[in-house]
Amino acid sequence: MKFLCMACDEGMRLEGTDAPDAGSLTVVFVCPSCGARVAMLTNPWEAQLVRTLDVKLGGGPGSPAPMGFVRATLARRREDLFDEPDRGGAGRDPSDAEPPHERADPAVPAQPGPEPVPGEPPAGGGDTTDAGPLVWSPEAERRLEHVPSFVRPMARLGIEQFAREKGYREITAAVMDEMRGRLGG
């Protein structure tokens, strides 16, 4: 979808998107000539269509989280999927994580077990590259509560991605404001 400023006969530029509100996305376009702005307000169906295709209006960050779509879109999923960092838990030792269950079945011969993939640290190892623990401040958590429940996982993911890009370890209300500012809301 493209927007044309009819006064200037110029294509409008995408200025930013706002966090989903009750399933509706706000996408703001600006005319590069006269500066006029329009906001496209999607209905929840349109927002869902875009989401199901796993694309982002306004473009996405370079490398989205692995399996970000299923994680954000499954209506019911395992709580601890892909070892999400513990929300409340600053200082949680990653080695607390339960190791993969080993079958002690003598009937299975020569089980090599989870041998490491070249270039990958062993499972459960300190994986801090992009999944390091992010702490949510209570206020930030409260704010997230205002986001409708069915888009909350996606909003959470988006904010965490933003925080990681910025190298923050804690998500506070200020970080949320900053993200909002960057998105031109």
């Binding site: 199901t52 692995p66 994580a97 990958e120």
Partner: protein
């Protein structure tokens, strides 16, 4: 006034670039996988999942590196059949680390993402009543992520267990950079025979190489005396059918209660049953498929 095509770009979201990035991610991942083999059948319950697990295990026993992808998102069975249901998926720097079953077989299945036995696969939607509208698209997105975001590592074979019918095979084919090898399974009945032809047609139209037809539940092995008796229609139906369709015949697997029992225990039947009639037939089929993939 300018028209759509007069304006450069796509309005700022660059959806095409996003889709291209998704494809590139998948292509990069699949570059480390030598062959993808899809096990297909038009009919449900003919033993696709059990056969996928055992063919994969038979090649693993021969020293191949194998992974299995459960593309039956609504009726996932592979995690159970490979005994990995209690493993937790973890995130590593290369992607989501798959579960690891007997013989080191890597497993990705929707079963590992759902919270409990009683939980069906459901997607978030503006209204639950209309969720079916998104289901197909959501499932394809999920399948794409299973392929692209699982840290499969270097694999000789990635086996894909499909749900009944041909739809999911078409999805898989659309996603993959090159067509998967197809193994068609059937049982000796006229009804099954009808749908085999459809599977062959779909594979042909999509230019996917068909490694052959494997007939399951062909005869019953009496656990007491070992005598094989007919379970469905007698006669060499699969052989005739394969000849008619000009595809290789991969053999016949008898019905052996030990196959079901092994699946329930989460251990591939061929691990212990290699020397039985069914075990030999499964191993022979796996070896024939390997030869086929090496020749094509």
């Amino acid at each position: 006034m300018k028209r759509y095509r007069d304006l450069a770009g796509d309005g700022g979201s660059d959806v095409l670039a996003q889709v291209a990035a998704q494809e590139a991610r998948l292509r990069t991942r699949m570059a480390a996988v030598r062959r993808v083999v899809a096990v297909m059948s038009g009919k449900g319950g003919v033993g696709k999942s059990a056969i996928t697990v055992n063919l994969a295990a038979a090649l693993a026993l021969e020293g191949a590196r194998v992974g299995v992808l459960d593309a039956d998102l609504n009726g996932p069975a592979l995690a159970k059949m490979l005994g990995v249901r209690d493993q937790r998926l973890r995130r590593g720097p290369e992607g989501v680390l798959p579960a690891v079953g007997a013989l080191g077989i890597r497993v990705m299945s929707m079963d590992l993402l759902l919270p409990g036995d009683e939980t069906p696969l459901t997607w978030q939607a503006p209204t639950p009543q209309r969720a079916h509208i998104w289901r197909q698209t959501a499932e394809v997105s999920a399948l794409r992520e299973f392929l692209a975001d699982t840290a499969w590592g270097e694999q000789d074979y990635l086996w894909v267990d499909l749900p009944p019918g041909t739809d999911r095979f078409c999805d898989l084919h659309n996603l993959l950079p090159s067509p998967p090898v197809v193994v068609i399974t059937t049982i000796p009945s006229e009804v099954a025979r009808l749908v085999v032809q459809k599977s062959v047609t779909v594979a042909r139209e999509l230019k996917a190489p068909v490694a052959g037809l494997l007939e399951n539940m062909a005869g019953y092995v009496c656990p007491a005396c070992g005598v094989v008796s007919e379970l469905f229609q007698p006669g060499a139906m699969a052989g005739r059918l394969a000849a008619e369709q000009a595809i290789p015949h991969l053999g016949q697997i008898p019905f052996d209660p030990a196959i079901g029992a092994a699946a329930d225990r989460g251990i591939p039947f061929v691990v212990q049953g290699r020397q039985t009639a069914a075990g030999k037939a499964l191993t022979a089929a796996a070896v024939a498929i390997r030869a086929f993939t090496e020749a094509t």
